[in-house]
């Protein structure tokens, strides 16, 4: 009933004459970029916060909070001078101390920032005056400005560099970006007001993020003009929206892929043969059919990626070969069911409840494994349980989820043994070496080769069943003009959007 009432309430919402309303499957639970791990958070943070450098319309690096910078001749450090007109939403000036604080907070182990990897290359940052930051690198850097894309936080918003997810800042974030956080609303929506003091003009006065958990309703809401933007359209809604003259589709690239991950820290998923065998029991094409059209993948990159290794094929859906692999791992078929150590094999799959189409995929997978003789339990987790069980406790057998990458497609955090997003516990010295080599290489040919080798090795080790990539389309009302969508952060160019 709640599912029905919520969209009806949204339909009744007055049309936003001066504002733009966009839908997210789930509202960001907190607004603090130091802990950002989801796309809804990344999009909201893009409105509120700024980094030292950002992308311009041609996606080239351009100063944002920085006014100028200078790299030392030995390339071991740099100084960054901040803009004199940069101010926080509460009116205080943005200072070098804020930049230093942000870097220290991200590096502070007590913070446990999901973004810590983005400052690992910085050895030390110091404020030399109110507007100048001196940054010393761990090793020489060629173009350090290209790495200064993380969001800057106000020092005065926190009591120490040990930042907690529960700090009050999460509910009243202070940024310096084109939009100011206005309110968390009772219907889980979030309102952002235009920052009138921002250095450039901002076209749309108010933005509202509406949580519409049932993605099936999102397309209807934009057709009924109860929304002006959908950040991601369900594949099955594309044709309907394409044929509607009040809406325009904007394809954009997100480099997303779906996967079923195995918890390698837990038996029996620590055995490669088990993972490979289970992978061959899954009919991926059949899982994809109800979701939409997409490319089936053989590894951790989308097919159009420079790093996709086209010589690697997805594992075949082959019950016989799967049986041989499972048998080699000590499993036995007892009647219709697989057993291990004399017990019927059963496993639990977890998925975030906000993951689109997760229910269809999980039920289909359940049915496929049941037919093969394996019982699969499914737990759909809310955000708190997801963080606890998957990210913190790693309490799962299988995990169904997706990863979205910016155009650098850096999979290091997911597959390096020290990676902060490697919750499946994948460990391969060979892959670690290749990832290090790829990161350190300045020759694009060498990086391409190393990451294609990573693709092959990861595919062979099968820490995940790599599923598919789907096309990403935004839908915007034709009333929204000057639209350019950033391929990852979505709202980078939102200040230029106009609502007619």
């Amino acid at each position: 009933m709640l599912r029905l009432l919520l969209p009806l309430a949204l339909l009744a919402a007055p049309a936003g004459a001066a504002g733009l309303r966009y839908a997210e499957d789930q509202a960001p639970p907190i607004l603090n970029p130091i802990f950002g791990s989801t796309m809804p958070e990344a999009r909201a943070n893009e409105l509120i916060f700024e980094s030292l450098f950002t992308d311009n319309l041609e996606l080239a690096t351009t100063p944002a909070l920085a006014e100028s910078f200078e790299v030392s001749p030995d390339r071991a450090g740099m100084t960054v001078t901040l803009r004199s007109d940069a101010i926080w939403h509460d009116g205080k000036p943005v200072t070098a101390d804020d930049v230093v604080f942000t870097i220290q907070a991200m590096k502070d182990k007590g913070t446990a920032s999901t973004e810590a990897g983005r400052v690992a290359w910085i050895a030390e940052a110091t404020a030399t005056d109110a507007r100048t930051v001196a940054i010393r690198f761990v090793r020489p850097e060629s173009r350090p400005e290209e790495k200064l894309f993380f969001k800057i936080l106000p020092r005065h918003g926190f009591s120490s560099t040990v930042v907690k997810r529960t700090d009050p800042f999460k509910n009243r974030p202070i940024g310096s970006g084109p939009y100011m956080f206005s309110s968390f609303n009772e219907d889980n929506s979030i309102t952002f007001q235009k920052n009138g003091s921002w250095r450039d003009s901002v076209g749309i006065g108010e933005l509202t993020m509406r949580e519409v958990a049932d993605k099936n309703y999102q397309a209807k809401l934009i057709l009924y003009e109860s929304l002006e933007a959908l950040v991601r359209v369900l594949p099955r809604d594309l044709a309907m929206l394409q044929n509607n003259r009040k809406v325009e589709l904007y394809p954009y690239q997100t480099n997303s892929w779906w996967y079923i991950g195995f918890n390698e820290a837990r038996a029996p998923f620590d055995k490669t043969a088990v993972r490979q065998g289970l992978a061959q029991l899954v009919d991926v094409g059949n899982l994809l059919a109800p979701v939409g059209t997409g490319d089936l993948l053989s590894g951790p990159f989308v097919k159009s990626s420079p790093y996709y290794n086209h010589d690697v094929r997805p594992p075949p859906n082959d019950a016989r070969a799967a049986g041989d692999l499972l048998t080699s791992a000590g499993w036995a078929k007892n009647g219709e069911y697989w057993t291990r150590d004399g017990h019927a094999v059963a496993m639990t799959l977890v998925a975030h409840q906000a993951l689109e189409s997760a229910q269809e995929i999980a039920v289909n997978l359940q049915s496929q494994l049941q037919t093969a003789g394996i019982k699969l339990n499914v737990d759909f987790l809310d955000d708190a349980a997801w963080r606890q069980r998957v990210w913190r406790d790693r309490d799962f057998d299988l995990v169904l989820s997706q990863w979205t990458f910016d155009r650098n497609e850096d999979i290091r955090e997911q597959f390096h043994s020290l990676g902060s997003r490697n919750f499946v516990g994948y460990r391969s010295p060979e892959v670690d070496l290749l990832l290090d080599k790829a990161r350190d290489s300045l020759d694009p040919f060498a990086r391409k080769t190393a990451l294609r080798q990573v693709h092959a090795k990861v595919a062979a080790d099968q820490p995940m069943v790599f599923l598919w990539t789907l096309d990403s389309y935004a839908a915007l009302s034709v009333r929204v003009k000057n639209v350019v969508v950033h391929p990852f952060y979505f709202f980078t160019f939102a200040p230029q959007w106009q609502l007619k």
Partner: protein
Amino acid sequence: MAEKPELAHSWVAEVVNRPERFTERVAAHREGWVAFQRNDWPAARAAGGDPAARAGAELARFYAVLDRANDLAWSRLVTRWSARGLAPGLLQRLADASGPVPIDSPGLLGSDVPGADALGSRVALHQQVRAGQAPAAALVELATRPMLVEPVAETGQSREIEDPWMLETLAMAERAALAPATDDTLFSGRLDGSGGFPALPAPVNDALADGDACRAKVRAIDAELDAWRTALAGGAGPDGRALLDDLRLVDSTRARALVDMAVAALEAQRPACALALGQLALDHESPRAIGPVNSPTLFAVVATAQLYTGRTREALDAIEPIRATYPAVAALDETVNTLVVLEGIDRRGDSRE
């Protein structure tokens, strides 16, 4: 909105209103027309006759558009390469040798570099194809392998350098082989009886506004086509209605018209407009596949416009669907791959759930 009188005289109207005449038109080369309608140009060309001639013209344009993308990718790759201060190697020398007629430059790289012999024979083959002395297929056969492989002592690996002239030579070869088609309107983007295309809106200086202007133009075209589709279906008999739906006549004609406009926009140096037109032409029901609505040139236009607008990584998404059918695209794909890696080589990636 009322149906425009010109549309009533278009080839689509004739197919729907006089299906028997359509049957006569395609009778001689039925398989070829079926392939041409699906934008399967290799099959259409193999079938001979008008479909072959039309497919040849489409291929010439397709390769010409991709050659534009190739030039841009090479130029950006070399500029970045130099700015990055990387060891110059063959890539730089190859680019330095490029000029208006690079293929004719004798001793392009000199004989002191690895691969000079391989390069010499590749250049010779290009010249033969351009002179009509060798089939283009001989070049295409080599397309999925790098032209030169340069060992790099510092990395212990090698740089694979793609053929920079592949698409230019193929465009020239296709143009040279062009044959006139008797039936040049069937399955075209010509929307009226006189064989006209919709014109581009007047250019706007600002790229964002130009994109919006071209989107507005498409909305106006769509309003006319919506009315037309209704009128066509209402006036057609059962056979005509079946053809209208089965062949997706309005959708595919719309897409062809938008692609024609997008090519014109690229030629007029209006990439934001070309990108808007290309994106609006795409069949979102099967966005990664060539079909009656999505022609290879549509993907080529989108890729080229993406490159012009700085969306290098996104250009790869548009190149991917044509790579499998057209092996010659592999060289461009790998060059853009390298450019994408180079453009992001100093960045720290971001990823989210």
